[in-house]
Symmetry: C2
Subunit: 642 residues, 2 copies
Amino acid sequence: MTEAKTAAPRSAVTDTTRSPFARLRPVPIGAVRLDGGFWAPRLELTRRVTLRQQYEQCEATGRIDNFRRAAGTRGGDFRGRYYNDSDVYKWLEGAAYALASGPDPELARTVDLVARAIAGAQDADGYLNSYFTFERAAERWTNLTQLHEMYCAGHLLQAAVAHQRATGEPGLRDVAVRLADHICATFGPGARRGTDGHEEIELALVELYRQTGDRRYLDEAGFLLDQRGQTPPLLSGTDYHQDHLPVRQQVEIAGHAVRATYLACGLTDVYAETGEAALRRASVALWESAYGRKAYVTGGLGAHWAGESFGADYELPNERAYAETCAAIGGLMWSWRLLTLEGEARYADWMETALYNGILSGISLDGESYFYQNPLADRGRHRRQPWFGTACCPPNIARLLLSLPGYLYSTSDDGVWVHHYAPGEVTVAVPGAAAPATLAVETDYPWEGSVHLRLRRLPAGAGRWTLRLRLPGWCEHPELRLNGRPAATAGDLRGGGYAALDREWAEGDEVTLELPLRVRRVVAHPHVLSNTGRSALARGPLVYCLEGVDLNGVDPRDVTLPAGVALRAERVPELLGGVVRLRGEGVLGPPAGRGGALYRPADGGEAPAGEAVALSAVPYYAWANRTPGPMEVWLRTAGGGG
Amino acid sequence: MTEAKTAAPRSAVTDTTRSPFARLRPVPIGAVRLDGGFWAPRLELTRRVTLRQQYEQCEATGRIDNFRRAAGTRGGDFRGRYYNDSDVYKWLEGAAYALASGPDPELARTVDLVARAIAGAQDADGYLNSYFTFERAAERWTNLTQLHEMYCAGHLLQAAVAHQRATGEPGLRDVAVRLADHICATFGPGARRGTDGHEEIELALVELYRQTGDRRYLDEAGFLLDQRGQTPPLLSGTDYHQDHLPVRQQVEIAGHAVRATYLACGLTDVYAETGEAALRRASVALWESAYGRKAYVTGGLGAHWAGESFGADYELPNERAYAETCAAIGGLMWSWRLLTLEGEARYADWMETALYNGILSGISLDGESYFYQNPLADRGRHRRQPWFGTACCPPNIARLLLSLPGYLYSTSDDGVWVHHYAPGEVTVAVPGAAAPATLAVETDYPWEGSVHLRLRRLPAGAGRWTLRLRLPGWCEHPELRLNGRPAATAGDLRGGGYAALDREWAEGDEVTLELPLRVRRVVAHPHVLSNTGRSALARGPLVYCLEGVDLNGVDPRDVTLPAGVALRAERVPELLGGVVRLRGEGVLGPPAGRGGALYRPADGGEAPAGEAVALSAVPYYAWANRTPGPMEVWLRTAGGGG
């Protein structure tokens, strides 16, 4: 085993350090420092404002009191929904990632208070769910299809593992172990059959296995996966619960989108430990179904409001996109796990798309309100809310953002991988070196396409190793320089892969990656009926949209983009927290028919060219942060749409 | 009062004979004979096959046994859902219309059997709902928002009125009166406040008022309307229940589409009796909202699956259209009521659109399976079913089709109105005549556009009166001949109105209306984002679609219609029960990008012209009656789409 394989997994999001079937190993959150740029201020806002606001919401809505009540330290009724514990767990997981990034004594105190409230609610037999206590204790494990007990348990396991990795304290991890043991004793070969209607426990049990080394948790995850799609069904037998087929036979992503992505994470995690090829095949096929035929250009997942579910292939309505923030996050978590297996860039590409668009749109620029759905067209009615009765999305986006440093880099036996570009520094083991190396990154990505990397520190003893830099799929002609000269890499330099720089590195070596940021007009597959005659604007990883507020009262629906439209990028520091906007000229029209008829006979040809209208497009993630008004991502395009 | 005003209302669908604020009066179903053509065989199939199949379903699913159980003549549990009584009532109403059209001893026996089962389930105090009996009697009227008690009651009232009008027997009408009295005693000024979460009772109470002359029922309908949109709300306070505003302030159609249309029927019915202008204003504004901005080109209503509800203005997704059969029917019933007020042709135009497209699609050509949703694009997965757990649509389409003869003609003080063209004969009072006149209609509408009318019998004494013929809105240049010569009418002959032939008529007079049936390419308002770059094909009142089965394996999504496409109509007697299909040539493409990418950079201009592909479009109503495959109404159109 190399040094990297035995390094401490401290604060990894998923610790594949010893996973036999994963090629990539984590770089802990604590080893990554972000300095300025796009992400550091956002993460700081999340830590300082969002975590605080969410903690207050959890207190105000009784979510933490529910634990105190279960512990007997407080009276009153259970408040809210039966799955409310999970929101507290996700908040805690996010807070743990924040603590892994750096000290925050006030946050640490709150974390401790919350962790103790949770621990106090655990029963002697290990059971822990504040809803199923006292008057409802008899209902425990009676309705696995609907009541989310294992789902809540899974989030506790994830939070507890993150907590131990961040703080070094085993207390909450021990709570999680007792709960996991209770579940293993209740469900499994020789005990009850059953699995949860809302997946989550599977991926969590694998992570607990990684943290504790106790193989029972891995086996239990496999057992729970195996319970889906049985005849007769143990759940609903429908794809809503991914219960329509045994998991190894599932090749089309279907049903509730968050559940489906969490299931896929669990599948992939179990594969990473067991190497069972059928699990990997299912995960890859499902991923190709999800991202090859059912994903929004923003990385959003889930076309249907009814059932919060995936639609058919290419069925991607814009106004009625469900695209739940949690589903985009679940998709990122899943793509990350697949990326970890072999280092295929397509997984990182979709992670990036989701991160900069369909996930980031889920939170306001001030960090205090949230989208549950992320539509791609709107009339100005869809606005972020400070909280929800079902509040899965707010703490999910907090934990995702705060875990982001853990998703930027990986290591493998032969070197270091840079998946996503953000300014700062990473301390990372390199093959042969006695101590970690330090790599500094300077970039204004995604606003500018230059990424400058410097080996700030390279301990003696490092031999030949490979530095891999992702060449984003959106970039047609990346350029790479090593110490000022064009770099020799294996294979062509094209977007959609990793440039591999394999050499004997020296301290001070510099690599510059140039990713030209042409404004792109994107069209959809012709089977995406919603996007016929439309195209979307993008620059780098960012998808853009037109908002009414930028159009002097013109409705984006009344604008046609000329197919050859010239758009210029313009940095505007004072706009929306600082963005690059796209400016150009569209055409008003086509005009509505006489009297604004809903339907009318076609006039047989092209609509006459309309009056020019100045366009200003802003990044999709930033929409709905100003005066409410109509918004569109997919713009009517003369002659050159999808 | 004229003769027409005092004629027996026998078997009218809505009896506005004595309604002071309705200009048009009904022509009873029994006065209309349909011979051949488009509708007579369909109605015959509905009577002979559909009613039988639905009765068997009602028996097999316990819907009629539920009444027997409530009567104490049978044991066991209540079966099915709490609103299942309503399906039996709608079936009975449809069967009554069938009996009004002509004798059917076997059907009459079944009707009698069902009517007696219903009557047997009535409590001594008049209450009648088979769900709320025995163990659930204590729950009566405890949850008006959700439990549909008045909704079920309303359907009984409609069925009972139809039954009395068809058979002359007052038995079931008396059951309805006792139930209505119970409701009036329970809810009203000086009694409880409250109204039903699912509208229906209002229109039914007005019809019972018309049948009995007892004004309490009209007042009660008004009372129940007034209970919506109160502060604090009596229902949910949301537009799902049309409870967000007082009904007189509702101007945007919203929420659950079936409920919204039934509410609008009730509003209009109350106006027809009371003349309260605010009710009419609300109904007209809601109708303009529904049909001016929220209706599918098929006459379908309801854009959203979630909540089975209307979407925003111009939000009309095709694949995920909800377009519940019941909502299109509710819309027809509402349009009919507005038509009755003043005889404005726009209401009859949308009735026709819904009838020939979005309603008729709700039933299979063999009359034994049904759509609940009527999407405008599909992948071959959406198929008609023989029944549903919630089976509102099957009996609703049966009763609508069997009541159709009652929607074809009206009378007014000054003459006769022909709204819809079907071959056969109508016996109708004309001003001044001592006995009814008989008007014979010959036409092959909607396949051909010639309509030939002849005054087969005109009793002595008829003076000058007006024959009004609807000129469909889809027809640009109608022609009218009287006894072989161009007819003089008031106003221009243009589609979208009534041609009024005002003269001293003579027996044997002949009128020929020519409605040229050009194949039309229709585009949508530019704000209908789903239809950008697309157009729909129509001929006469029929909307067409492409089905994969007609395209030699080509997916309709891969076809582009040239803007100037020439389409020829071709009668095919052996296809789909006999249709006119449209033939022409489309172009394959645009091609998908390399590897079938979901998203790709635009190539900057028009896609190259593809290979030619022979197109054969069939009427929308007939889709999904052959091999499952993809279907599209809105076709990608080069350069000339919406």
